[in-house]
Structure formats: C-alpha cells, structure tokens
C-alpha cells in the first residue's frame, strides 16, 4: 500500500462508517430501519464493520405492512439471528385494527402511506431518538435535499425549507424531548455504488433481487407480482415470467423487470446499462410529481 488515497467505494464506506459511529455517539437509542431491501441490508453490513469487534449496538426496526414478500421476512429473521441483535416490529395491521389508520380503497389501494403512522408510533413507543435509514439522494428529487442528520419535529414531520446546514464532518444531532432524527449514512451512494459494494463485499441479499420465475400481472408498465392482496381488473391476466426486482417494497406496489440476471455479476452489468431509475417501477412515487416530498414531510422513510 503506497498510494495513500482511497478509491471511491472505500471513501463512501468510510463516510458511512463515520456517520454510523457519530449516530451511536450522539444519540441514546438509535435503531436501523430495516425493510429487507438491499439498501437497509447494506446499512446493516456497514454497521457490522463500524463497530467490529463489538456487536452492532442498534436494534433493527421493521415496519410490517402485512403485504410482504414471504422471502423478505425469512431473510430478516435469519439475519437477526446471525447478528444477535434485537428486532422491533411495527405492524400496520395493528394500526388498522386499532383504528389509527384506515385501509385505502380501490384498485390501486396500497398500505404504503399507512406506514407513516405505524413508523411514527413505533418510534415514539420505543423512545427511539434516531432512526437510521438507507435513503439515498440519487433516488428521488426530494431525497436529493436530504441531510445526513435530518431533524424531525415532535409530530415526526420534515421541514425541507428549514433544515440545519451541514458543513464539513460536523453533524448536529441536538434535539428536544419528543423530537427525533433520521440519519442517512449512504446519502452519497448511487444505485450502482450499492450494487458494486454488494458485489465487492459479497453481501447476501434476498433471492427476489435475482432473476426468477414468478406469476405476475402487467400493470402501470411493470410486472406486479401476483399475490392474495392483488385485485385483478377484467382485462388483466396472470402470466409466468422470468423477472427480478430492483427495489423491494410492498408486494402490492413493487414492479419487477424481465431479466435473466441471476448472479451479482450479471446484475451489476444490467444495472449499469439500465435506462430507467430504480424507483420508476414503484407506483407509490408515480401518484404525483411531488409524491415523495409530500410523504416525507409527514414522516415517511
């Protein structure tokens, strides 16, 4: 070793580890928001590295919509066991049963927006003062304005026009009782960086990311997986395709793409040639031009 500079992936990793350690040092009770998606898996992997040889000092928090891919839940449970960390589950079904939120109606009904209430309830009831997320600035235009340390008021709301300036490596996590922070260690990573990192580190990810045969329905320009939660339109038919997912959300809203990429090597090749953003297949972002900003203001991930 004689060059004394880091390559871009090492620098991104070092930055993320710095942020994770800073969260641990500045907050009393941080958690990792774990969705089972690749970004939160990468965050968990980075946390393992940041605190080695100690164990990850955070619990993982999963907001369970009840509309999961079964593969995601199994992956989550295996990982928890392997790492020896606690799991906190916030259940959207319970929020519905308690009358905290009402289920959306109609063909495009999802539980996506309902998660906000469940997430904020789980944060409050567990006294969480910092929730670490896998959000990236390249994902979406409202997320491009997000800070590493992002303040939420005592209603859990984000005020994008009134954010604390972040300079150098100085992060201000000071807050009052009842407020909390969201921290985004991989803010500066792109989708390609995440895949290159997963490949380099040989990080295990759910099988859904690899090309596989699945029963699907063509809707809103992508292949929506068939599940018991899906209400079929008259003109829609269930077909079997070889697909994979670029992002993982609820089974009801996550569209797959046709693909033969069944290894990490093939996936990174495919992603680098991709001409659509990964959230292009997420119907939750398509509801309006500022759909993400509107949800984030209310407390979304």
């Amino acid at each position: 070793m004689s060059k004394y500079y880091l390559n871009y992936l090492d620098e991104l990793e070092s930055e993320a580890i710095f942020i994770l350690r800073e969260v641990w040092a500045q907050f009393q009770n941080p958690v990792i928001l774990f969705s089972g998606g690749k970004d939160s898996i990468v965050i968990t992997h980075l946390a393992k590295k940041a605190f080695y040889p100690a164990r990850i000092p955070f619990a993982l928090m999963h907001v369970d919509t009840g509309h999961n891919f079964p593969e995601t839940i199994k992956f989550r449970d295996d990982l928890i066991k392997d790492l020896g960390v606690n799991l906190i589950v916030g259940s959207v079904q319970e929020s519905i049963d308690d009358g905290r939120v009402a289920e959306e109606k109609g063909k495009n009904a999802t539980r996506n927006a309902l998660q906000i209430t469940t997430l904020l309830d789980a944060i409050e009831s567990n006294n969480v003062d910092c929730a670490i997320g896998g959000g990236r600035r390249d994902e979406e235009k409202a997320r491009a304005k997000e800070r590493f340390f992002s303040h939420r008021d005592d209603f859990g709301q984000w005020d994008p026009k009134n954010q604390r300036p972040e300079l150098w490596n100085l992060f201000n996590g000071n807050h009052f009782e009842g407020e909390h922070f969201r921290a985004f260690p991989i803010s500066n990573w792109t989708e390609m960086d995440v895949w290159n990192y997963i490949k380099r580190e040989k990080i295990e990810i759910p099988s859904l990311y690899y090309a596989h045969e699945r029963k699907v329905v063509w809707r809103s320009n992508s292949w929506i997986p068939y599940s018991e939660f899906l209400v079929l339109e008259d003109n829609e038919e269930i077909v079997t395709k070889k697909i994979r997912f670029r992002t993982l959300g609820d089974i009801t809203i996550t569209g797959g793409i046709e693909s033969n990429a069944d290894t990490l090597e093939k996936i990174t090749q495919e992603v680098s040639a991709m001409r659509q953003t990964e959230r292009g297949n997420r119907s939750d972002d398509k509801r309006s031009e500022t759909a993400m900003e509107d949800r984030k203001r209310q407390g979304y991930f």
Binding site: Y4, L6, F18, K145
Partner: protein, 417 residues
C-alpha cells in the same frame, strides 16, 4: 469500473440566468447519467410550461417551492460517474441571501465551478463566489466562461474575463485556477471538445474534472485522529479489547508510531490499526478505523490522538472567520455550544474584529451585528481548550460550528485563522 477510481466533489454556484442548471443538465445528459423516466418527466414539465424542446435546467429542481419559483433554494446533490471518476455535485444557489448554502456546499468540495456569462464578464456575484471558494479553501477553481455561442465564440470575450478575474483574484488564497470557454446550451467544451473555438488549447470541462490531481487535497502531513467512540466488545475473542474508533482527519499513522493523546498529554505507541476486514500497518485520511495503544490510558470521545512530534495548538482563545447561518442574529456575549471534530464545548463570542463585505472586499470595523450570511472575523473563548490547526492547513481540525442551545439550531460556521 476501475478499482482505483477516485471520488471528486465539486460545487457549482450561480444564479438562474448564468446557465448553471443547464450546465449540470448538460454534464449529466452528455455523460448519460439521466435516465429515461427522468427525461420523460422533464419533457412533460417543459411542455406544460410552454418551453421549446427539453429544458435541461429542470432536472436540478427538487422541492415543490423550487419548481414553482424556478429557483434553487437549498443545496441539492447530484451524482454521475464516468469511466475515470465518480462525481458528487453540490448544486448551490448563487444569490447573496443564500451565502450560507454556498458555504455549506463549498465545505467539502475539491473543486468549485464558477460560471461567468461571456456577455457580461465578471460581476459582483462572480467575485462573491470566488471569495467564498477561497474562504472555504476549495483546492481547485474552474471558471467557466459560458454562453460563448452568444458572443460568436470570440476569443476576446474569454480574455476579458481572465483579465477581470486576475485583477481581484490575486488577493485571494487560491492554489489552482483554470479558465474554460463553454456553451452549456450547445454543449461546447462541456463533455465534448468544441469545434468552434480552435483558439482554445485547453481541455473541456469534464476531462479537466476527470484528470485534475486531487490526492493532495487532503493534508497528509499532520497526523490527527479525533476519537469518535470507544469500542469495548467484551466478548469471548476480544475480552480486553479497547479500540479507539474514528476517522483519520489528516496525516498518516503507522503501527509503532509514538503518539500523544490530547488534551491529557499522555504518550504511547500504536499497537494495532484494526478494521473489520483486516489489521492494517498504516492508516491515512480519510479512513475510518479503530486504533489500539500499547498503554492503558483513559481516552474518550472528544480526545485527539496525534503524532508526538507534530501537535496541534491547544487553546481556549481562537480567532476565526465566522459565517452566520441563522435568521436569529448573534446575541452579544451569549454562550453557544461549539463543535470541533468530535469535541463539544461551550463558547462565547468575545469580540467581532471586523465584518467583511463580500461584494466590495472591504472590512467594516463599525458594524458589530452578526446577521444571516454575514462573514466576520471574530475572537471566541471556549470553556476548555480545543486542539486546533489553522483552516488553511487543515480543513477538518481547522473548522467549527456553533449551536444555539436554546433552539438546538446550527447558527454559525467558523474557519480558524
């Protein structure tokens, strides 16, 4: 992607009119970093607004208010990658009321792109941007003389700007400055070399960004390791492990090096440099590592491990250039929290030496109020010593922020003189 590809962060400052958003749109578009669905969304909006063709500038709008008003309010970060480097753009607004956002974007940048309209030459805003780049010690400045298509690609317009720029830039502390004639709208000298300006012998903008030497942008001389947290696993395999976790701010540390722990002053030797993947012989900025020492010393967050033959200054009285970032003006003799590396103490602004007018470059010793966007030289007194270097030598150990304890807001950013 090659394994040794580096990351380059640059900032762009400019207003609505000088083509900043178009330039960023052009860089992303020509380097094939804009996706089809993003392009479609921009095409739709362009049509709704009645623009001809695709307005590349729309790509950089983010928040609802920005789209409505057609301006950049906050720092927006953009990403693109070429086969040579990964780039992070901090896109900041250029208007004086957003000085604080320019300062924010500049704080981590390797390079600053300053846009000048070829028709108008250097204006007040250009000088302001250059001053901020110099104040924040951005190592490389690239002046892009834009809209060359509107002056018939004449060399004269380019030379005028260089003359105007050098007239005032000699007063600035800038190490590396370059001038490139471009047309962001037409794509001349942005990604591809222009065929209309054969008089220009230099490289286009992207090639310049891809090849400029940035390994020396971080100080590799002064070994500084602020301790973020202490790792004590207490598990079977690491029963007595006590690792000091942090990110190397500057310099190079090797196993066996004599180190001093500040502020206590105890000395020891580096026993090991650990990461999850392997034990290292050497660690350098900006690596995140965990360090163990030969001797059992009481060390906690806020302490700094330094090489014994090269120490920072430990002092409670600090002179700095301070940029005020908040709506509420500074309260005279009020106490603030001061954050310096991983160390937080209380501090008081003892004296405002002068206020600096970033448009006229004049010092004002009469006006003693610190309002949002003001840049001043101040003297600060802290309750306990901070281990400091001058900002010019070290951007990490030479910088601080002030936090107002009554609101928890970050109210000021300081660069130690």
């Amino acid at each position: 992607m090659l394994d040794n590809n580096q990351l380059l962060r640059f900032t762009t400052a400019g207003s609505v009119d000088d083509g900043k958003s178009t330039l960023i749109g052009r860089l992303l578009y020509d380097s094939k970093s804009i996706f089809e669905d993003q392009l479609e969304a921009i095409e739709n909006t362009s049509r709704k607004k009645g623009h001809d063709g695709v307005d590349l500038a729309l790509f950089t709008d983010g928040l609802r208010a920005e789209r409505e008003q057609g301006i950049t309010i906050d720092v927006a970060y953009r990403y693109f990658t070429t086969p040579k480097r990964k780039f992070i753009i901090a896109d900041t607004p250029g208007h004086i009321q957003y000085t604080r956002n320019m300062v924010t974007g500049a704080s981590t940048a390797n390079a600053a792109i300053i846009l000048v309209d070829a028709r108008h030459g250097v204006i007040e805003q250009t000088r302001r941007h250059a001053f901020i780049a110099s104040l924040l010690q951005i190592p490389h400045i690239i002046v892009c003389i834009n809209k060359m298509d509107l002056v018939d690609y004449q060399e004269k317009a380019y030379n005028v700007v260089i003359d105007q720029f050098e007239e005032f830039s000699s007063k600035l502390l800038v190490k590396d400055i370059r001038f490139i004639p471009i047309s962001a709208l037409e794509g001349d000298n942005v990604v591809n070399r222009s065929s209309k300006m054969n008089w220009y012998q230099g490289a286009p903008l992207l090639h310049t960004l891809e090849t400029m030497h940035i390994s020396s942008d971080i100080n590799k001389i002064d070994g500084r390791f602020p301790v973020q947290t202490v790792l004590r696993p207490q598990n079977e395999s690491h029963r007595d492990y006590r690792g000091y976790a942090g990110r190397v701010s500057s310099g190079i540390f090797r196993v066996g090096d004599e180190v001093t722990v500040l502020p206590s002053g105890f000395t020891s030797k580096i026993k090991s440099i650990d990461t999850f993947d392997e034990e290292l012989d050497v660690a350098y900025a900006p690596m995140s590592i965990s360090m163990t020492l030969e001797d059992d010393i009481d060390i906690s967050r806020g302490d700094m491990i330094v090489r014994s033959n090269n120490k920072p200054e430990a002092t409670q009285d600090i002179e700095m250039m301070l940029c005020w970032l908040h709506d509420n003006p500074a309260r005279p003799r009020a106490k603030y929290s001061i954050q310096h590396t991983s160390n937080t103490q209380k501090a008081m602004i003892k004296e405002i030496v002068y206020k600096f007018d970033i448009n006229t470059f004049k010092r004002n010793t009469e006006d003693k109020e610190l309002n949002m966007n003001d840049i001043s030289k101040v003297k600060i007194r802290t309750t306990k010593p901070l281990m400091i270097d001058s900002y010019r030598e070290n951007r990490t150990t030479g910088s601080i922020i002030l936090i107002d304890d009554t609101t928890n807001e970050t109210v000021a950013a300081g660069m130690i003189v």
